[in-house]
Amino acid sequence: MDSLTLIALVSIVMAGLTTGFGTMGPALAEGRAVATALTSLAQQPDASATITRTLFVGLAMIESTAIYCFVVSMILLFANPFWNAAIAQAAGQ
């Protein structure tokens, strides 16, 4: 395998793995957060406004870790600097 194939192979496989593993943790965490929020909503319906607002902010904070992984895999797929460098090197020869 030449270096171009190797870079493409590793980038594509790692893009899938990054999003796959990167969403696993946030999914578990969001599930826990929503479950706890529902429990406290059932116990204290009066505090629903505060709980919902805190829940939304917390969910966005948790979800941003998954978004970081998604951004990394998008960079690997569509704006890969190593791929661009290898292409430039191949074109120069």
């Binding site: 406004a49 902010v57 978004i67 998604f70 951004v71 569509f78 704006a79």
Partner: protein, 229 residues
């Protein structure tokens, strides 16, 4: 397929490029500014008022109430900054229903600029509220050992603010683009609806987080509890 509206170039003269981000940002700004100018030109104080005035009053008083609930003492002082952030991000995601429109917040340069505004505004409000010495002293809390970590958190939360908004808006556009190639008719509409929801939530999150950071910088210092002798 392009990653951000930066890559759509309408017009170019040498180094100067007019890309979709700039064009749509200015279009949004024009719509927001001219719209509010037109509405506020004919304000009425009695019970007969236009529906547009009602809309603006609902938005402004809603934002003010939300800022107050965060714990900022005088919401009017922060209404201009936080309200502008919310309205811009919300309008950008709301306008994605217009065909051909690309949200300028789907470009990393826009979101970094917005986050940089927050980075500058937080110390500004903090210094105005408790003075230069008082604000700088908050970096030394709880002990001076935490100084580097406080500085790092200042930078990292700005980065997180920018990348979160960019990732959410970009992923919405990208998923719709991919789905258009796979299942052309029904599914992209559903995803656009979901994108509208996430866009509004992200606008809310962005301004709420900015408000929380400002609240942390301007908190009225409680008197230190006397240590028992």
């Amino acid at each position: 397929m392009h990653l951000s509206p930066d890559e759509v170039i309408f017009w170019q003269l040498g180094l100067f490029k007019l890309n979709a981000t700039i064009v749509y940002t200015w279009a949004l700004m024009l719509v927001l500014v001219l719209g509010s100018r037109l509405i506020t030109a004919r304000l009425s104080r009695d019970h007969q008022r236009s529906s547009w005035q009602n809309l603006l009053e609902i938005i402004v008083s809603g934002i003010e109430q939300q800022i107050g609930e965060i714990g900022l003492a005088q919401p009017q002082r922060y209404l201009g900054f936080l309200g502008t952030l919310f309205l811009f991000v919300a309008a950008a995601s709301l306008c994605t229903v217009i065909p051909g429109f690309e949200p300028p917040t789907g470009s990393l340069s826009t979101t970094v600029a917005l986050a940089a505004c927050v980075l500058v505004a937080v110390p500004m409000y903090g210094i105005r509220d408790q003075g230069l010495r008082g604000y700088l002293a908050t970096y030394l809390e709880p002990t001076w050992i935490m100084l580097p970590f406080n500085l790092i958190s200042e930078v990292s939360r700005t980065l997180a603010l920018a990348v979160r908004l960019f990732g959410n808006m970009m992923s919405g556009a990208m998923i719709i683009g991919i789905l258009l190639a796979i299942t052309p008719f029904l599914f992209p509409i559903v995803m656009t609806l979901l994108g509208l929801l996430t866009g509004m939530v992200q606008a809310y999150i962005f301004s709420i987080l900015a408000a929380v950071y400002i609240a942390a910088a301007t908190r009225t210092r409680k008197p230190r509890p006397q240590s028992p002798a």
